[in-house]
Symmetry: C2
DNA sequence: CCGAATTTGTACCAGTCGGTACAAATTATA
DNA sequence: TATAATTTGTACCGACTGGTACAAATTCGG
């Protein structure tokens, strides 16, 4: 019938927003069609696997972003500037606390079992990349692991709390605090 | 038809488990029926307001538990022992990372808007009670607030990460770390 | 400009959702 | 034991769920 300018890649971030806002179960196809402007025909053309494939695509998209702007720099760049870049990237990505972590949200309920590999990989590689940078910066192996874990779960908790209290500014405060703790 | 030993109060924790496991949207009445062994008739007898009233009751139950075993001691008991008691209570309540925070889970998706007062109050009173204890212990006002915030969002983030990585032991490590940070 | 491939809207499906109605069964009161 | 109040199972409701089928519209290759 019609050809719009939408490619699959253009739609993924829109679908991501719906998942972020309502969770996997709450993200109904009707809400997704509403947000994307695509009918079921187009949606199932792009994602023959339906809702599950949409979520997989969204998770892959998120993963790709972090891989490129966070993990890879942590592994390759100068440790100090890579870590500094991480805090900036994270603050930007989560809109200074106004946005929630989709992977963290999926992890909390039964959705996790559907996407456990993607969810596990996202956090594991984040922690490993950060630990790697800390070690290269001179921190001991054990301490670096703990520090990396603390930074990552600190970010997740700050997102939860900022949203629960409807106080995005808490996220910025928390990032500052975590940054100081890391001492890099 | 039948009279079982179930009182409303006995059913609430069971319903809580369903919400914890599947989230608000994913907790269907059929799952709740299955878990509790109660038919719709009984369920709507106890909770005329339906699913929403069940969630309200569950949140009130959680709140009551924390008020009694965490907030109240923090406000009234000797600061050092109350804070120590908090870590023990939290570790026990969340089953050393094997259990998720229902309030945190609700906070992350669209469910928050339905129960924002309960969610907001749970975290706000927790932080305030902890700050209060820290101040009585000699910490300055500003620093105590930051410390309290960090402890609470640290716990939340540790729960997210422990579940995401399927590694409950991470929660214990995190609690230890947060406890040291607090220095009480 | 024509035919093939792609893209899309719409109607429809069975299943499940939360919720209601109500009679039957059980318990409590006397 | 008779009766009133409580508790419960079940059938049913309209709405919505994710998903399928398919023909019409559009775009693209020649």
């Amino acid at each position: 019938m019609a050809r719009t300018i939408n490619e699959r890649a253009d739609v993924v971030p829109l679908i991501a927003e719906v998942f972020r806002e309502f969770g996997y179960e709450g993200a109904s196809l009707s809400r997704i069609t509403e947000k994307t402007g695509l009918g079921k025909g187009s949606l199932y053309h792009f994602f023959p696997g339906g809702k599950e494939e949409m979520a997989t695509a969204v998770l892959a998209d998120v993963d790709q972003w972090f891989e490129r702007f966070v993990y890879e720099p942590l592994r390759q760049d100068d440790p100090a500037s890579a870590v500094a870049g991480m805090w900036a990237a994270v603050d930007g990505y989560f809109r200074s606390g106004g946005r929630v972590c989709l992977v963290g949200a999926f992890a909390l309920d039964g959705t996790r079992d559907m996407f456990s590999d993607a969810i596990d990989g996202y956090f594991r590689r984040w922690i490993e990349a950060l630990r790697d940078a800390l070690v290269r910066h001179g921190r001991g192996d054990k301490a670096a692991t703990m520090d990396a874990e603390e930074a990552v779960f600190g970010i997740q908790g700050a997102l939860v709390l900022a949203r629960a209290l409807r106080d995005p500014s808490l996220f910025g405060r928390a990032l500052k605090r975590l940054q100081l703790r890391l001492g890099v």
